[in-house]
Protein backbone atom coordinates (compact mmCIF):
# COMPACT_ATOMS: atom_id res chain seq x y z
CA UNK A 1 0.00 0.00 0.00
CA UNK A 2 1.25 3.52 -0.75
CA UNK A 3 2.21 5.52 2.32
CA UNK A 4 0.71 8.82 3.48
CA UNK A 5 3.54 10.99 2.12
CA UNK A 6 2.89 9.57 -1.33
CA UNK A 7 -0.90 9.76 -0.97
CA UNK A 8 -0.87 13.39 0.16
CA UNK A 9 1.50 14.23 -2.69
CA UNK A 10 -0.96 12.79 -5.21
CA UNK A 11 -3.91 14.47 -3.49
CA UNK A 12 -2.07 17.78 -3.74
CA UNK A 13 -1.07 17.18 -7.36
CA UNK A 14 -4.63 16.28 -8.28
CA UNK A 15 -5.33 20.01 -7.83
CA UNK A 16 -2.65 20.75 -10.42
CA UNK A 17 -2.90 18.01 -13.05
CA UNK A 18 -5.05 15.07 -14.06
CA UNK A 19 -3.78 11.94 -12.33
CA UNK A 20 -3.14 8.76 -14.30
CA UNK A 21 -5.40 5.70 -14.03
CA UNK A 22 -2.98 3.80 -11.79
CA UNK A 23 -2.37 6.79 -9.58
CA UNK A 24 -6.09 7.23 -9.09
CA UNK A 25 -6.66 3.57 -8.36
CA UNK A 26 -3.90 3.35 -5.75
CA UNK A 27 -4.97 6.64 -4.23
CA UNK A 28 -8.60 5.55 -3.93
CA UNK A 29 -7.50 2.35 -2.23
CA UNK A 30 -5.37 4.30 0.22
CA UNK A 31 -7.94 6.96 1.10
CA UNK A 32 -10.63 4.32 1.60
CA UNK A 33 -8.62 3.10 4.57
CA UNK A 34 -6.92 6.28 5.76
CA UNK A 35 -9.08 8.97 7.35
CA UNK A 36 -6.06 11.26 7.78
CA UNK A 37 -5.40 11.42 4.05
CA UNK A 38 -9.13 11.76 3.30
CA UNK A 39 -9.18 14.84 5.51
CA UNK A 40 -5.99 16.14 3.94
CA UNK A 41 -7.54 15.91 0.46
CA UNK A 42 -10.66 17.71 1.61
CA UNK A 43 -8.65 20.41 3.37
CA UNK A 44 -6.27 21.00 0.44
CA UNK A 45 -9.41 21.89 -1.53
CA UNK A 46 -10.73 23.99 1.35
CA UNK A 47 -7.40 25.85 1.54
CA UNK A 48 -7.91 26.77 -2.10
CA UNK A 49 -11.40 28.13 -1.39
CA UNK A 50 -10.21 29.96 1.73
CA UNK A 51 -7.31 31.57 -0.15
CA UNK A 52 -9.60 32.76 -2.92
CA UNK A 53 -11.98 34.23 -0.37
CA UNK A 54 -9.17 36.06 1.40
CA UNK A 55 -9.64 39.74 0.66
CA UNK A 56 -9.62 41.88 3.80
CA UNK A 57 -11.61 45.08 3.41
CA UNK A 58 -13.56 46.63 6.25
CA UNK A 59 -14.73 43.39 7.79
CA UNK A 60 -17.08 44.81 10.40
CA UNK A 61 -20.75 44.16 9.76
CA UNK A 62 -21.62 47.77 10.61
CA UNK A 63 -19.04 48.91 8.08
CA UNK A 64 -21.44 49.71 5.24
CA UNK A 65 -20.92 51.90 2.22
CA UNK A 66 -22.17 55.48 2.68
CA UNK A 67 -25.59 54.78 1.19
CA UNK A 68 -25.69 51.00 1.52
CA UNK A 69 -28.14 50.97 4.40
CA UNK A 70 -30.65 52.75 2.21
CA UNK A 71 -30.45 50.13 -0.54
Amino acid sequence: MMNCIHATRLLSESLERKLGVWERTHLRFHTMMCSGCRCFGEQAQQLREISRAYAPLGENKSDALPNERAL
Binding site: E16, Q46, L47, S51, P56, L65
Partner: protein
Protein backbone atom coordinates in the same frame (compact mmCIF):
# COMPACT_ATOMS: atom_id res chain seq x y z
CA UNK B 1 -25.43 53.40 -6.95
CA UNK B 2 -22.00 54.68 -6.01
CA UNK B 3 -19.31 55.82 -8.42
CA UNK B 4 -15.56 55.27 -7.87
CA UNK B 5 -15.11 58.89 -6.79
CA UNK B 6 -17.74 58.46 -4.08
CA UNK B 7 -16.12 55.25 -2.95
CA UNK B 8 -12.58 56.66 -2.79
CA UNK B 9 -12.86 57.89 0.84
CA UNK B 10 -14.24 54.49 1.89
CA UNK B 11 -11.23 52.74 0.31
CA UNK B 12 -8.79 55.32 1.65
CA UNK B 13 -9.95 54.62 5.20
CA UNK B 14 -9.37 50.90 4.69
CA UNK B 15 -6.08 51.26 2.89
CA UNK B 16 -4.28 49.25 5.58
CA UNK B 17 -6.34 46.16 4.76
CA UNK B 18 -5.09 46.34 1.20
CA UNK B 19 -1.52 47.02 2.25
CA UNK B 20 -1.59 43.99 4.58
CA UNK B 21 -2.75 41.79 1.70
CA UNK B 22 -0.08 43.12 -0.66
CA UNK B 23 2.68 42.93 1.94
CA UNK B 24 1.90 39.28 2.61
CA UNK B 25 2.50 38.52 -1.05
CA UNK B 26 5.39 40.84 -1.76
CA UNK B 27 7.11 40.62 1.65
CA UNK B 28 8.12 44.24 1.22
CA UNK B 29 6.26 47.09 2.86
CA UNK B 30 7.37 49.81 0.43
CA UNK B 31 6.43 47.77 -2.65
CA UNK B 32 3.12 46.89 -1.02
CA UNK B 33 2.35 50.57 -0.36
CA UNK B 34 3.18 51.36 -4.00
CA UNK B 35 0.93 48.62 -5.34
CA UNK B 36 -1.95 49.85 -3.17
CA UNK B 37 -1.35 53.46 -4.16
CA UNK B 38 -1.49 52.51 -7.85
CA UNK B 39 -4.61 50.44 -7.21
CA UNK B 40 -6.41 53.33 -5.54
CA UNK B 41 -5.43 55.66 -8.36
CA UNK B 42 -6.66 53.16 -10.95
CA UNK B 43 -9.83 52.74 -8.89
CA UNK B 44 -10.49 56.47 -8.96
CA UNK B 45 -10.37 56.65 -12.71
CA UNK B 46 -12.73 53.71 -13.23
CA UNK B 47 -16.22 54.13 -14.60
CA UNK B 48 -18.15 51.39 -12.83
CA UNK B 49 -20.90 52.04 -10.34
CA UNK B 50 -21.60 49.87 -7.31
CA UNK B 51 -24.65 48.96 -5.31
CA UNK B 52 -23.03 46.71 -2.73
CA UNK B 53 -19.86 46.46 -0.69
CA UNK B 54 -19.13 42.98 -2.07
CA UNK B 55 -18.91 44.41 -5.59
CA UNK B 56 -16.42 47.06 -4.51
CA UNK B 57 -14.30 44.42 -2.86
CA UNK B 58 -14.22 42.15 -5.91
CA UNK B 59 -13.38 45.07 -8.13
CA UNK B 60 -10.62 46.61 -6.01
CA UNK B 61 -9.01 43.22 -5.35
CA UNK B 62 -9.14 42.46 -9.06
CA UNK B 63 -7.00 45.53 -9.65
CA UNK B 64 -4.67 44.94 -6.71
CA UNK B 65 -4.04 41.30 -7.66
CA UNK B 66 -3.05 42.35 -11.17
CA UNK B 67 -0.61 44.91 -9.72
CA UNK B 68 0.92 42.25 -7.49
CA UNK B 69 1.28 39.80 -10.39
CA UNK B 70 3.04 42.51 -12.42
CA UNK B 71 5.43 43.18 -9.56
CA UNK B 72 6.18 39.46 -9.06
CA UNK B 73 6.86 38.99 -12.75
CA UNK B 74 9.24 41.92 -12.71
CA UNK B 75 10.95 40.50 -9.64
CA UNK B 76 11.12 37.04 -11.24
CA UNK B 77 13.20 38.42 -14.04
CA UNK B 78 15.70 39.76 -11.50
CA UNK B 79 15.72 36.64 -9.35
CA UNK B 80 19.00 34.82 -8.86
CA UNK B 81 19.17 31.07 -8.51
CA UNK B 82 20.42 31.11 -4.92
CA UNK B 83 17.11 32.64 -3.78
CA UNK B 84 15.29 29.61 -5.05
CA UNK B 85 17.47 27.04 -3.38
CA UNK B 86 17.15 28.15 0.24
CA UNK B 87 15.21 26.29 2.94
CA UNK B 88 15.59 22.78 1.50
CA UNK B 89 16.71 21.37 4.87
CA UNK B 90 13.87 22.92 6.84
CA UNK B 91 11.39 21.28 4.52
CA UNK B 92 12.77 17.79 5.11
CA UNK B 93 12.55 18.31 8.88
CA UNK B 94 8.94 19.42 8.60
CA UNK B 95 7.97 16.22 6.76
CA UNK B 96 9.77 14.18 9.42
CA UNK B 97 7.64 15.76 12.11
CA UNK B 98 4.39 14.93 10.34
CA UNK B 99 5.13 11.36 9.25
CA UNK B 100 6.84 8.37 10.84
CA UNK B 101 9.81 6.53 9.35
CA UNK B 102 7.52 4.47 7.08
CA UNK B 103 5.83 7.58 5.74
CA UNK B 104 2.50 7.27 7.60
CA UNK B 105 0.92 9.97 9.79
CA UNK B 106 2.19 10.25 13.33
CA UNK B 107 -0.61 9.61 15.83
CA UNK B 108 -0.74 13.27 16.84
CA UNK B 109 -0.47 14.80 13.36
CA UNK B 110 -3.14 12.80 11.54
CA UNK B 111 -5.63 15.32 10.12
CA UNK B 112 -9.18 15.36 11.42
CA UNK B 113 -12.14 17.19 9.96
CA UNK B 114 -12.55 20.95 10.18
CA UNK B 115 -15.88 21.81 11.72
CA UNK B 116 -17.92 24.27 9.66
CA UNK B 117 -15.11 26.16 7.86
CA UNK B 118 -17.70 28.39 6.18
CA UNK B 119 -18.64 29.81 9.55
CA UNK B 120 -14.98 30.53 10.35
CA UNK B 121 -14.58 32.65 7.21
CA UNK B 122 -17.06 35.11 8.71
CA UNK B 123 -14.77 35.74 11.66
CA UNK B 124 -12.08 38.35 11.54
CA UNK B 125 -10.02 36.38 14.06
CA UNK B 126 -9.86 33.41 11.67
CA UNK B 127 -8.26 35.59 9.01
CA UNK B 128 -5.64 36.84 11.46
CA UNK B 129 -4.72 33.19 12.15
CA UNK B 130 -4.64 32.48 8.41
CA UNK B 131 -2.26 35.42 7.87
CA UNK B 132 -0.04 34.35 10.77
CA UNK B 133 0.19 30.80 9.39
CA UNK B 134 1.17 32.12 5.95
CA UNK B 135 3.81 34.34 7.52
CA UNK B 136 5.35 31.32 9.27
CA UNK B 137 5.97 29.51 5.99
CA UNK B 138 9.35 29.89 4.32
CA UNK B 139 9.32 32.88 1.97
CA UNK B 140 9.64 30.79 -1.16
CA UNK B 141 6.92 28.31 -0.23
CA UNK B 142 4.51 31.05 0.76
CA UNK B 143 5.24 32.81 -2.51
CA UNK B 144 4.44 29.79 -4.65
CA UNK B 145 1.32 28.96 -2.64
CA UNK B 146 -0.09 32.49 -2.81
CA UNK B 147 0.65 32.83 -6.52
CA UNK B 148 -1.26 29.61 -7.06
CA UNK B 149 -4.19 30.02 -4.70
CA UNK B 150 -4.72 33.75 -4.20
CA UNK B 151 -3.52 35.15 -7.50
CA UNK B 152 -4.80 32.04 -9.30
CA UNK B 153 -1.83 31.72 -11.63
CA UNK B 154 -1.29 28.26 -13.11
CA UNK B 155 1.86 26.30 -12.37
CA UNK B 156 3.63 26.84 -15.74
CA UNK B 157 3.31 30.58 -15.20
CA UNK B 158 4.60 30.38 -11.63
CA UNK B 159 7.53 28.23 -12.79
CA UNK B 160 8.59 30.68 -15.43
CA UNK B 161 8.22 33.67 -13.10
CA UNK B 162 10.27 32.00 -10.34
CA UNK B 163 12.48 29.99 -12.69
CA UNK B 164 11.77 26.63 -11.13
CA UNK B 165 10.59 23.41 -12.78
CA UNK B 166 6.93 22.39 -12.68
CA UNK B 167 7.93 19.28 -10.74
CA UNK B 168 9.57 21.55 -8.18
CA UNK B 169 6.45 23.66 -8.02
CA UNK B 170 4.28 20.63 -7.23
CA UNK B 171 6.68 19.55 -4.48
CA UNK B 172 6.54 23.02 -2.94
CA UNK B 173 2.72 23.11 -3.12
CA UNK B 174 2.47 19.67 -1.49
CA UNK B 175 4.72 20.65 1.42
CA UNK B 176 3.08 24.01 1.83
CA UNK B 177 -0.43 22.53 1.93
CA UNK B 178 0.75 20.07 4.58
CA UNK B 179 2.28 22.83 6.67
CA UNK B 180 -0.56 25.31 6.25
CA UNK B 181 -3.37 22.90 7.07
CA UNK B 182 -1.40 21.75 10.11
CA UNK B 183 -0.98 25.32 11.33
CA UNK B 184 -4.63 26.29 10.73
CA UNK B 185 -5.88 23.11 12.41
CA UNK B 186 -3.69 23.66 15.41
CA UNK B 187 -4.16 27.41 15.78
CA UNK B 188 -7.85 27.59 14.95
CA UNK B 189 -10.03 24.51 14.49
CA UNK B 190 -8.64 22.55 17.45
CA UNK B 191 -9.18 25.50 19.76
CA UNK B 192 -12.79 26.23 18.74
Amino acid sequence: MLTPVEIAPYLEERRMDLVRFAELQLRDRALAEDAVQETLLAALTGHQAFARRAEVKTWVYGILKRKIVDELRKRGRELVLSDVLVDEDDEGDALDRLFNARGFWQYDTRPSRWVDPEESLQQQQFWRVFEACLTHLSARNAQVFMMREMLELDTPEICSALRITERNCWVILHRTRLALRQCISHQWFESL
